[in-house]
């Protein structure tokens, strides 16, 4: 008769499994829900674009901002144009 061996699961693994089971609300693209916001994606509108950069001036990735690929590309293009015209910084530590 073969004995069933119970393996001990570490607490770290348990926490990992619990995290997977917990339902996390996925971020939704704000531009898909509100098509009127697409007009605000403009290199001149630096106040709106500043929401998509970090404190250090880096562009936020789509998995954090929640943007779809189409609008993430638009936003990043306009941020780069605004950086050329000194409306937005390249890095936060410029002065």
């Amino acid at each position: 008769m073969s004995k069933k061996i119970k393996l001990k699961i570490s607490s770290r693994l348990l926490r990992k499994k619990l995290k997977k089971n917990v339902a996390t609300s996925a971020k939704q693209c704000r531009f898909l829900n509100n098509p009127e916001l697409v007009k605000d994606i403009d290199y001149k509108n630096s106040e709106f674009l500043a929401k998509f950069i970090t404190e250090r001036g880096k562009i936020l990735p789509a998995r954090i901002s929640g943007n779809s690929t189409k609008y993430q590309r638009l936003v990043s293009k306009e941020i780069k144009k605004a950086r050329i015209m000194a409306l937005l910084p390249y890095t936060a530590f410029s002065y």
Partner: protein, 138 residues
């Protein structure tokens, strides 16, 4: 077919009114020569720049929009680029030429300049908030 373009120009903060008018007249002359139409020439005002440009911390922005026939668009753009490089090299620090879609509206949003001074109420609010922060940190 008409093509619409906009040029955002960043000049030094020490630009005088005469030099601004000289800029505008020069651009109007170029447009006239190539049968273009000026849509708007807006002065945004003085802004603090996100980083130093040619050792300047402040600058004045101008936004110029014009329409021109498709055949002459490249000529006009090249003339503008030459003028920025040769005639106005001391005044103009940066410029960006952008083509506009014909069906897009001409409304746009821009950040508030330093010349758009806040009212006294706002200033009192700011002072109160800074006092509270100082007391908390002390």
């Amino acid at each position: 077919m008409l093509c619409k373009y906009e040029i955002l120009i960043l000049t030094i903060s020490a630009i005088t009114k005469d030099e601004q008018e000289q800029l505008k007249k020069y651009f109007l002359k170029i447009l006239k020569d190539e049968n273009g139409n000026l849509i708007s020439f807006d002065r945004w005002g003085k802004y603090r720049l996100a980083y130093k440009v040619q050792q300047n911390e402040y600058g004045i922005y101008f936004l110029m929009r014009f329409s021109v026939a498709q055949e002459n668009c490249f000529k006009i753009i090249n003339k503008f680029k030459e003028s920025f490089a040769i005639n106005f090299s001391t005044l103009v620090m940066k410029y960006l030429i952008q083509k506009l879609d014909s069906f897009d509206s001409l409304d746009y949003k821009r950040p508030n300049s330093l010349e758009e001074v806040s009212s006294e109420e706002d200033i009192d609010k700011i002072i109160k908030e800074t006092e509270i922060d100082i007391i908390k940190n002390a």
